[in-house]
Symmetry: C2
Subunit: 354 residues, 2 copies
């Protein structure tokens, strides 16, 4: 344990001044050398960087932030329960964000809230803790967007909102999701389709409903309000609903689910009643590509639309950081990704009723 090779005197705070004295240069030169300013010749630059390395110098981000107005950190604001719930796509989004943030040498400030989101956002923005903000799951008409817009901080939304402001978002074509999924079931002859959607206050759920309506309309039909449900996107909810519906007097022959978790619950209910998915009952859903739950592994494999929410996370972070670094000289980014409909074995022709 006798190790004299330790390069730095322990916990002696080493700052620019120290470095400057050590090298007989001014702070400005050191600073510029470290930031690779062009006015500094390669030779001294190297001298500086090696000295910095040796002394274990790394700039005080608070001071730098004060001077530059930049933090090199972005914030992710979300309701705490999205972390608490087991069945959520949040962690997958987080993973994507986290990945890019790390790669681009930024920091990620996790900012959960319980009930006072507006305050949290306002404080995060005005305290200049972060350079930009990501928010998720926008409502149909989301007040956070005008708020952040007024606050003048770069932000990007995972999903969009029907707000007439120039903000950045990425989204998938949620109307297309339910239009494709619904259309498939209709084309297979299903007449009673249970639609398990999320809560309509969320823009994406709303769009999905509209997409389903279009699928019906294109085939000369109209929605049956009794078959449209707003429900949490959990296995249990799917199970409960499916169980109830299947034992009703006029049970659905197909289920259109907003998430894999719902579909999972529906599978369980169907199986439990001795029925067979894909034969007696058809099931489809939208798949976010979550870790650990893959439609292809269902029995039978589950037909679904697909778009990786983790990639969405990566994208969000990239867009936001670009926005930040462009310093406001950048048009809002608005991306609507296509979804793929992947046919597997969970859909069959509607059987004649007996």
């Amino acid at each position: 344990m006798i190790d004299q090779s330790k390069p730095l005197r322990k916990s002696q705070r080493v700052d620019l001044k120290t470095l400057a004295e050590e090298l007989g240069l001014s702070q400005s030169t050191i600073s510029r050398a470290l930031r690779a300013h062009h006015s500094i010749p390669e030779s001294t630059r190297r001298r500086v960087t090696t000295a910095a390395e040796k002394l274990g110098y790394s700039p005080n981000v608070r001071a730098r932030g004060l001077a530059t107005g930049r933090t090199e950190a972005i914030g992710l604001v979300f309701p705490l329960e999205r972390l608490q719930l087991a069945q959520t796509n949040f962690v997958d989004v987080l993973t994507g964000i986290s990945d890019v943030v790390t790669r681009r040498n930024y920091s990620l400030l996790l900012t959960p809230f319980s009930d006072n989101e507006q305050d949290v956002l306002r404080k995060l923005a005005t305290s200049r803790t972060v350079d930009g903000i990501i928010i998720t799951r926008p409502l149909v008409d989301d007040p956070r967007i005008p708020l952040l817009h007024d606050l003048g901080i770069p932000f990007v939304v995972h999903g969009r909102s029907d707000v007439d402001l120039p903000y950045s978002f990425i989204d998938i074509d949620n109307a297309a999701v339910f239009e494709k999924l619904g259309g498939l079931l209709l084309d297979y002859g299903h007449e009673r389709i249970a639609v398990l959607n999320s809560f309509l206050r969320f823009r994406y759920a709303n769009a999905r409903r509209e997409g389903y309506r279009r699928a019906l309309e294109a085939r000369g039909r109209v929605p049956d309000p009794d078959m449209m449900f707003e429900t949490p996107m959990t296995e249990q909810a799917g199970y409960d609903l499916a169980t109830a519906l299947l034992s009703s007097e006029n049970p659905p022959t197909a289920f259109l689910c907003g998430s894999v978790f719902l579909a999972q619950g529906v599978y369980r209910a169907v199986t439990e009643r001795g029925l067979r998915v894909g034969q007696d009952v058809s099931v489809v859903c939208h798949d976010d590509g979550l870790r650990g739950i893959r439609p292809a592994d269902f029995d039978p494999p589950l037909t679904s639309t697909f778009r990786s929410v983790r990639e969405a996370g990566e994208h969000l972070a990239d867009i936001l950081i670009n926005l930040v670094e462009a310093n406001g000289n950048k048009e809002p980014i608005r991306e609507i990704a296509e979804v793929d409909l992947i046919l597997r074995d969970s859909v069959g022709l509607q059987k004649p009723r007996h």
Copy 2:
């Protein structure tokens, strides 16, 4: 949309100076008033706070941080894959941490790394981005601990390491976990017990092995190296291993699993072979109390030791923040929590072999 009640001129940066001019006071007074310094009378304090509220002032954390040396943020450093994997207790720990951090008005800096953890830690500490650091899953002899210790930044470890330094940690008695679990199986007469442990480089896995050894020893027996496994803590790993073992010529009659995921896999393997857990094969595990996977809901309910890893997370954050606020005038906190052994129905007497 004609709303003249908007309280603040949009995005005009409002700082201490602005406030000071607005109120005809000095910056110092404003600052002290906002921090509720005793030399400021209640009356002016109120005047200041209401003005601050009205103008939407919140202090620039970078500047404050520079002046005070505090960030009011803590960092969580972890390998990125702990987020990527579906089966991990990491998100539960994170949830606990996140909860407390929010409650105590701190920020949480998520700092994943891919391969250069030491650098990340060093940079995080010396750049003064955070006031303290949480690290997880220590090795038997973990180099991060001396590093952080030398760096002189407050930190706390989730789990402990056999390093002779005064650092803070919380842990469970992992030896007791496998001693209890193993003892139970032994007392039920099992002779061939497959032990599915994590990798021994981790201190906790090591301690567990030792605990199991003690359980054996107390009953006059010695470990069978062929029955001790180091494996990822996933369902698939549990399934694969159990499948292989059950079809070997001298199959185990019991499985001691390090995690619920492993146990889940073992259940699947057992069931698939037409055997019955609790009758033909016994299974026990340690349960971290993860979201969405509860031993009590297994079929049959799974006997396990229990300690909530989410509470551990809460605890970690609390301890670290206390440490930070004590400013180094605080002895290291070392807590080793008890685990409860909860008997359910997954253990039966060893059947006589036929």
